[in-house]
Each structure stands twice: as structure tokens, then as C-alpha cells.
Amino acid sequence: MSIPIIDSGQTPDVLGEGPAAPSVQGGRARLVWRRFRRNRLAMVGLVGLVLLFVFAFAGGHLTHWGPADNDFLNTQTGPSSDHFFGTDDAGHDMFAQTVSGMQKSLIIGLFVAALSTGTAGLLGTAAAYFGGWWDRAIVWLTDLFLVVPSLLMLIILSPYFQGSNWIILIPMIALFNWMITSRVVRGMTLTVREREFVRAARYMGVPSWTIIRRHILPNISSILIVDFTLNVGAAIITESFLSFLGFGIRTPDVSLGTVIDDGSNFASTDQWYLFVFPASFLVLLILCVNFMGDGLRDALDPNSTGGSAR
């Protein structure tokens, strides 16, 4: 839930979507946005992310090759005016493959990160804030997921999802990825919960979920933002691994992960372009998300000098 969900490359929604309605006042949201805008690197990240989305969804029009087309006349050729990023041994146009892979990887990376960080935030804060049976049940669930070997579960589950849409990967990856953050969030919430401003809000009559959203989440946002940015990269890698296992994205569909995976054998050969081009897009994506995360963290944190006016 309330994590910086950067969907469709639009303005980052600070408060995100949660069980409670987002803040209507806009006072803090406006202030955070202003502080975010002052951070040059964060804006570079934001613009970069928008450009990556544009590239992923409009880049296909730059070439007449499709990701599944084979150019048997030009196999294993280097970058040229026809094949911008060269071709592999089956004559696939690497540019078309990268663009197509980007589409899925962007969606998978960002959504998995949002979902798993969101779950961690939701369950971690709820467990700590409400305490009692909530706490016991959620901690028990968290521990259960921690001890179950996720890879084994995924392999056992995979036959049920054979042939279904690749979108199913998003909840699958997120499902086994939230536990550790959730425990950290729970610990941090336990300390924030005892602070007087939370008590003050309670005596004002502020509903619990609003307190969590308005007071607790902003105060533990650093960990959630860091977790989110790390998860983007991790999700893309996990996805390629699952695809390798045979469920998720299968040929002729490609993802950035599978393209990089295929090209990784050629990284130090004269066919470097099979690896370097898709890999640099992954690096670009993660850099952009990181810049934005840092900017958002500084914008939310009044103690940082990054966001304040100079």
C-alpha cells in the first residue's frame, strides 16, 4: 500500500493508495513535491523513468523488426543501421527484443516492488500498531513464509500456472519477497508507535489507519523507499530466473531478464552487444528508480539538507 508507487511514470504519489482515502489536504503532499523538485538528481530519475516508459512502449515503431522475427540473412551481426543493437544467432533483432523485454520488465519490476514493499508496510505496521492477536497472527504468517523455501513452492505451484498470463508472475514473486522487510517495519513501528505525537493523534480521535498512513508511514519511509528501489532490480532478475525454470515468460515472448540471461554468455566475446545493450537498460532503470527514491526520502525527511531551499 502506501509506498511510493511510481506507476506509469507519473508524479510520485507520496501517500500512495491505502485502505484509507489519500490525504485530501495536499499541504504535505505539495510541500514534499516542492522539495522533491528541488533535488536535481531526483528529477533526472523521474524524467529518465518517463523516457524509459516511452522507449518501451513507443520504441517498437523505430524499427520494422518485431521481437519474434528472425532475420536469417543477418545472424550474429553487430549493430548496424538496420539492426540498431545487432542480432543474435537466430537472427532476432536485439533492439526489438530489448524494447519488448523492457515493457514486461518495467511492469514486473515496478509492480512487484510496489506489491511486496506495500505488503511488508501494511502487515508490518498493522502488526505493530494494533498489537495483540493481530501481531501474533501476522508475525506467525511472516515466519511461515520465511521458513517455507520459496523456490520449492514456486516449482510446486508452477504447473498450475502453466500457460496462464505472465501477469501472474507479479503476485507470485511478491508473495515470497515481503517477509524480511515486514519484520523490520514492524520493529520500527513499535518504536514510532510509542512516540507522543501518535498518542496525541489518538486522543484527537484520529482513526487508526489514518494514524498509520499519516504519522507512522512517513516516519519509517526511508526503509520502505530503500526496499522498493532494491526490489525493482531484484524482481527483474527473479523473473528471468523463473522464466528459465519454464514458467512465466516463455519464447517467443521475451523480458529484459531473459534477454540479458541469453546474452550473458557473450559478454566478453566479440558479440558483446548481445549483453551490453539490454544490460545497460536495466542499469538505467535501476539508477532512475534509485535517484527518485533518494529524492523522495530527502523530500520526506525534514532533517536532510537535500530538499530544503538553499
Binding site: 489536504q25 510541500l31 507522543e196 493523534a201 480521535g205 499519516r214 520526506l300
Partner: protein, 709 residues
């Protein structure tokens, strides 16, 4: 001066000062820290002499450089501090000595007592071992001899049963006991100088009185000189011979105690003295405090001007262009750093007219007799017991913590009830129980005659509008990540105000508490402590409550800032017809602001009544001890008073004594005969009205008025 004894004492101190060679002589001490913003000049030219057996008080607010200057004397500052000047101990220069050489001085010739006794003791060693270590580091003592000496020391500082306590760990001691251990360690090697850095700030008043007594004994025993660093003008008045007032890293006034208190020659000192609420003020002449407006300057890049100029009501042109030297106003007068010292000394400017006395409007309700006013908050027989559980798997109940054990009071419209007591007496638990607005374990809480117990969720929400709270620590009670405008608007938004309306209201509230509307967009960290507390007050007032619960609202603030907040609270009460439940451990503040006062001890109210009768004729022994323990910022009165020292610490609320719960610390109990003592042991005294008093009740079998202030 009408007290020959006092005069004697002063001439004695002065005589020593003239004849003796100074033990510790500090000359032109400067301490500068490098920081990213520039050089922070924390101490700018401190000089003083300390003679054997003398007590010098250094008074100043936080950030005035008083602690840093003493750390510099001990060579305990971090490496990024640049220290210049001269510190001589019996003629030997200490500045520039290596750390190894300094280690031989520290703890032997100069000992230190820190503010926080919990962090100053190592938790993993027994108290006895730590004292033995302090001894053997500097003396060549055998194991047995060291042990004997350590036991002696524990006895000297008043730790009962030293044989047994010797083997205890610091966590098994209470705060006051730990501070005694610190004093024992400080005097272990017969030091020449004892530096005390706010030694009683973290302690309750009755414990403070015990510790000051222990320090006096220690001094009498060792003949050491004491350097007492504190912000409390009351502590200094009774304890010190000489006082130095520090402001912005410089001493601004120094002299004998009586000189400073009765003939201050620097507006800052005058302001400080005028801004403390007095326990001995009479209710007839209750006047508003005179706050010092503004905040101390930043210690980075100070211009050549009087650092106090921005806050000074009598500043003239020269104050802006040059910094005054610490010079006497004339022959026989003590030095002060003020360009207008001659005017102050000559009487051209009357000392009590330096700061304008703020006008606090009279509350219209004050004219109405108490009985005719509506009851706003009524608490009857409130209980809160916590079970004490033991066992990991099968939890069983091994006892009960009686945090609040049956208390009753009511607050009428436009009235302030002060709830006082030492830490652990159940004040805060009482507040929390009231604020929860649910049915208590036993008893009842009613707001405007409506029981909190049988409210629906919606009604409870409505009731929250009428009862609001301001917490002690203004930093902790404001969300650091929320702009203050939004924090103030939070209660409004919660209770369904539109964004437009609440924005206008926030502006109005900010002006009401003396801030500017443009402050709404800033984060709490950009405000000073006093301003933050004003923000908290604004937030509490947002919904026009009828009762505001103030939980130690000024105890985290500096004296000069505190006065402004107290005046603001007073003014708001009059303007808006508010009722306050004012919880505090500082009885002087309660004396100033409250109409009625309730004294709590171990979960019970032991004495309640209107302020004038309770303070003038306290009739419960605990109230008497509490009042007598509070130091007055008045050296003459302070020397004349006799303290009632309570033995021991507050008992644990898990183990409440039978009968009267105060009896094992009660000085009156000790003087009773056997039959009377039995009554105290067996019968729990009920709170009954004092005969002949309209509004004064006490819970003591042998209540008897005693004047202690």
C-alpha cells in the same frame, strides 16, 4: 541586610577570596568547535577563581556554554574543539597537558558529578567495584583497605545498609541513590575541586534536597571547592557563595550570591529572575511573569555587539555596535557585561522596570464563585491497576501495580487544577485514563456531566472535541515529518472541517499563540522549544475545547522561554474561558498558574484544596516535605529555611504499605506514640475536609498545618 548571620557568611566567603590563593583559576577560556556552518564559539572568555571550600554557581540556559567550559577544564572535550586561555590548578597549568597527564588529575584533584547518574555508571559492574576502581586508580590501596574505604564512602553519602548495597548493580538503585554513588566516587580521593554538572536536574524535588544535603556533607568532609553548573536559580541561591551568569558563551555577570540576586546589573539576569514563578508569592499579588522575548543568538559568526541586544528592552545604540566588557558598575560593585550598568546601579533605570510586565486580561469567570460554575470534568474514585505477571510459558499473576488507586476531583469552568507529585506517583496514568474516555477499571470519568463509560463511538468522538491535551516534550509530540500547519489542522480535519475552513483556522490559531501564519509550511525542527510548545497549544485549541490537559507543558523548556508559555496559557484561559488540568512536578509553576492544587502520592491524592490554603498551610506531612524541598530563588529566605528531608525513595506502587501509604517516610509518624502509630499502620486515612476550611481536604490521621515556604 537584616540577617547578621548571612552577612557573616558572606564576609567569610569574601575574606577567603581576598586572602587565600585560588585553588582553581580559569583565565580567558575560549572554546571553539569547527562545524560546517562555520566556527561555533561555544565559550568566549570565561574567567573565575575558586578558593578552597568555596561554592561557585555557574548559571545559564541550555547552549550558554556552561557545561562546555567545565568540560574544557577537565580536558574532556572532543578533538575538534580548540581550547585557548589558561586553567591553573593550584598554580599548575592544566591546558595543554597530555591525556595521560590529565588522567592523573581527573578523579583525584578534580572530580566530576554528572547530570545523568544512570549513564555515568557502568551497568555491568557492581557499585562497590566501581568505587573501588575509582580509589585504586589513584591510590595504592590493598584490596581490603579499598573495600573498607568504599563502604565508608557509601555510608558518608547516606546509602542505607552499605554492606548489602555494595554488591548491587546500578540498575538496582533509584536515580537518587545512583547520584549518591556518583558523589561517593567523586569524593573517593579527597579531591580539591568537585565539578557538578546539573547534578539534580534529573531528580525529583525531595530527592534533590537529599542530594544537595549529601553534597554539602561531602564538601564539609573533604573541604573541597564546588563548581555547581545549573540552570536552576533556586538551587544556586541556597548552595553557592558566588554566582556567574553565562549567556551566549560569556559570563555576563558575576559576584557574591546576594549581589546577583538583590542587585542585578545586567538585563539578562534581571529577566531570568523575573521569569521564574515563585513559590513564595502571595496569591493577592500574583503578577504575570516577565518573559525574555526572543531566543539566544546563534554561536556562529557573532557580530561585535552585545549578544543580548535583540532581547533587551533597554538596549541603546552602543549595544548594537560593541560588545560590553565584564566590568564593575562602580567601586564596590560586582562586574557585569552591560553598557547600561551605571544606569542600573544608579537607579536611573529601576531594576524591576526593565522588562515590561505583560498585561493578562482578567477572566470574566473569575468573578463567579466556584460553587456557581458548571463542573467541566469530574473524576470519581478512579482506579488503574496493572497486573504484575511472571513466568514465560504459564503466566501467573504475582502482584498488582496500583498506579492509580482511587482518586477523585472535579474541575469547574474557567478553573485550573494543578496535579502535582513526584515521578511514579501516578499523575501520567491518571491523565491517560481520563483521555482514553472509556470506562475505567473502577470509578468514573465525566465530562460536562456525561459519563465516558456509556458513550457510543460517535459520542466519544464528539467528546474528544471538548477535551484536548498538550504533552511535556514539544519535540516528541509533533510529528517530525509533518509541517506544523498540517499538524495543527489535524484535529480539524479529523472532525470533518473542510480544507478551506481549516486553513483559515490554522492561520488564526498561529496568530493566537504568537506565531506567524507563514510558519505553517515549516517542519517542527525549524522551531525552538518554546515555539514548538506554542504549536502544540495551538493544536490543542483548534477545536475550541472546554478542558485542556497539560502534561508538564513547560518542564522541558528553559526558564526564560517557560515564562512566555505560562503567560500564554494564562492569557488563553482568560480569553477563551478554558479549564486546565495542569500536571507538573514543579510546585512553583503550579503555585503561579493554578487555582486549586491536588498533591498525589503513590496513586492517591493526599491533599487537595485552593492554592492559597494548601501552599500557606499545608497539612499533610508529604505536602509539607515537598514544599520545603523546593529551593527558592532568594538567598536570604533560602538560608533561613529548614528543610524537611524525607528518608528513602518513593516506594514501588507494586508494594504499597499497609494503612497510611506515606507512613514509612513520614517524619510525623516517627514522633507519634505507639497507639497513634498503630492507627497509621492499620487504618488507611480517608481524604477529609480540614475543619474551618472551605476548600481544603487532606488524607492524614494527624493533619496539622505547618508553614514551610
Amino acid at each position: 541586610m537584616s540577617h547578621p548571620n548571612d552577612e557573616l557568611l558572606i564576609t567569610d566567603a569574601a575574606g577567603r577570596a581576598e586572602t587565600g590563593v585560588p585553588l582553581l583559576s580559569v583565565r580567558d577560556l575560549h572554546v571553539t568547535f569547527s562545524s560546517e556552518a562555520g566556527d561555533v564559539r561555544a565559550v568566549r572568555g570565561v574567567s573565575y577563581d575558586l578558593h578552597p571550600g568555596e561554592v561557585l554557581g555557574i548559571v545559564g540556559e541550555s547552549g550558554s556554554g556552561k557545561s562546555v567550559s567545565s568540560m574544557a577544564v577537565l580536558g574532556l572535550l572532543p578533538d575538534n574543539a580548540r581550547v585557548t586561555g589558561s586553567v591553573q590548578l593550584a598554580g599548575r597549568e592544566l591546558l595543554g597537558l597530555s591525556d595521560r597527564a590529565m588522567s592523573k588529575v581527573r578523579g583525584k584533584d578534580i572530580a566530576m558529578v554528572f547530570q545523568d547518574p544512570l549513564s555515568a555508571l557502568t551497568p555491568v559492574f557492581t557499585v562497590g567495584d566501581q568505587i573501588i576502581e575509582a580509589l585504586t586508580v589513584h591510590q595504592n590501596l590493598g584490596k581490603e583497605a579499598a573495600r573498607k574505604r568504599a563502604l565508608e564512602l557509601l555510608d558518608v553519602v547516606g546509602i542505607p545498609d552499605p554492606q548489602r548495597r555494595f554488591k548491587n548493580f546500578p540498575h538496582e538503585f533509584s536515580g537518587g541513590m545512583r547520584q549518591r554513588v556518583m558523589i561517593a566516587m567523586a569524593i573517593a580521593n579527597d579531591p580539591k575541586v568537585i565539578l557538578c554538572d546539573e547534578p539534580t536536574t534529573a531528580l525529583d524535588v525531595t530527592i534533590q534536597a537529599q542530594i544537595l544535603e549529601a553534597l554539602k556533607n561531602a564538601q564539609a568532609l573533604t573541604g573541597a571547592a564546588i563548581l555547581m553548573i545549573t540552570h536552576d536559580l533556586g538551587v544556586v541561591a541556597g548552595f553557592a557563595d558566588k554566582v556567574t551568569v553565562m549567556y551566549a558563551g560569556r559570563p555576563v555577570e558575576s559576584g557574591a550570591v546576594d549581589e546577583i540576586y538583590y542587585r542585578p546589573r545586567m538585563p539578562y539576569t534581571i529577566g531570568l529572575l523575573g521569569s521564574i514563578p515563585r513559590l513564595d508569592e502571595s496569591s493577592e499579588q500574583r503578577r504575570p511573569l516577565t518573559p525574555i522575548e526572543g531566543t539566544p543568538p546563534s554561536m556562529v559568526g557573532l557580530p561585535d555587539a552585545c549578544p543580548f541586544v535583540a532581547r533587551c528592552p533597554i538596549a541603546v545604540e552602543v549595544c548594537h555596535s560593541s560588545e560590553p566588557e565584564l566590568l564593575p558598575a562602580g567601586p564596590g560593585s560586582h562586574p557585569s557585561a552591560c553598557h547600561r550598568r551605571a544606569d542600573l546601579a544608579g537607579g536611573t533605570i529601576p531594576v524591576d522596570g526593565v522588562f515590561p510586565v505583560p498585561k493578562i486580561p482578567a477572566a470574566p469567570l473569575d468573578a463567579l464563585p466556584r460553587a456557581d460554575r458548571a463542573t467541566v470534568l469530574e473524576v470519581k474514585g478512579l482506579h488503574k491497576h496493572f497486573p504484575l505477571m511472571r513466568g514465560a510459558v504459564f503466566k501467573r499473576r504475582v502482584g498488582t501495580v496500583r498506579a492509580v488507586d482511587g482518586i477523585s476531583f472535579d474541575i469547574r469552568e474557567g478553573e485550573t487544577l494543578g496535579l502535582v507529585g513526584e515521578s511514579g506517583c501516578g499523575k501520567t496514568t491518571t491523565l491517560m485514563e481520563i483521555l482514553e474516555l472509556v470506562a475505567p477499571q473502577a470509578g468514573s470519568v465525566a465530562v460536562f456531566g456525561r459519563e465516558a463509560a456509556n458513550l457510543s463511538g460517535r459520542e466519544r468522538m464528539e467528546m474528544r472535541k471538548d477535551i484536548q491535551v498538550v504533552f511535556q516534550d514539544p519535540m516528541a509530540s509533533l510529528d517530525p515529518r509533518m509541517p506544523v500547519g498540517e499538524a495543527i489542522a489535524e484535529p480539524l480535519r479529523t472532525h470533518g472541517w473542510s480544507a478551506e475552513k481549516s486553513r483559515a483556522r490554522v492561520e488564526e490559531l498561529l496568530k493566537l499563540v504568537g506565531l506567524e501564519p507563514y510558519h505553517a509550511e515549516r517542519f517542527p525542527r525549524e522551531f525552538s522549544g518554546g515555539q514548538r510548545q506554542r504549536i502544540c497549544v495551538a493544536r490543542a485549541l483548534a477545536l475550541n475545547p472546554k478542558v485542556v490537559i497539560l502534561d508538564e507543558p513547560v518542564s522541558a523548556l528553559d526558564v526564560s522561554i517557560q515564562a512566555g508559555v505560562i503567560n500564554l496559557l494564562d492569557e488563553l484561559r482568560a480569553k477563551l474561558g478554558l479549564s486546565y488540568l495542569f500536571v507538573a512536578h514543579d510546585l512553583s509553576v503550579v503555585r503561579h498558574i493554578a487555582d486549586r492544587v491536588a498533591v498525589m502520592y503513590l496513586g492517591r491524592i493526599v491533599e487537595i484544596g485552593d492554592v492559597a490554603s494548601v501552599f500557606r498551610a499545608p497539612s499533610h506531612p508529604y505536602t509539607q516535605a515537598l514544599l520545603s524541598a523546593i529551593p527558592l530563588p532568594d538567598p536570604h529566605k533560602e538560608r533561613e529555611r529548614t528543610r524537611i528531608l524525607l528518608p528513602g525513595d518513593l516506594p514501588s506502587p507494586a508494594n504499597v504499605p499497609s494503612g497510611c501509604r506515606f507512613r514509612d517516610r513520614c517524619f510525623k509518624y516517627a514522633s507519634l506514640n505507639a497507639a497513634e502509630q498503630e492507627k497509621c499502620r492499620d487504618e488507611d486515612p480517608m481524604i477529609v475536609a480540614r475543619p474551618g476550611r472551605e476548600d481544603h481536604a487532606t488524607a492524614c490521621h494527624f493533619a496539622d498545618a505547618l508553614e514551610v515556604v
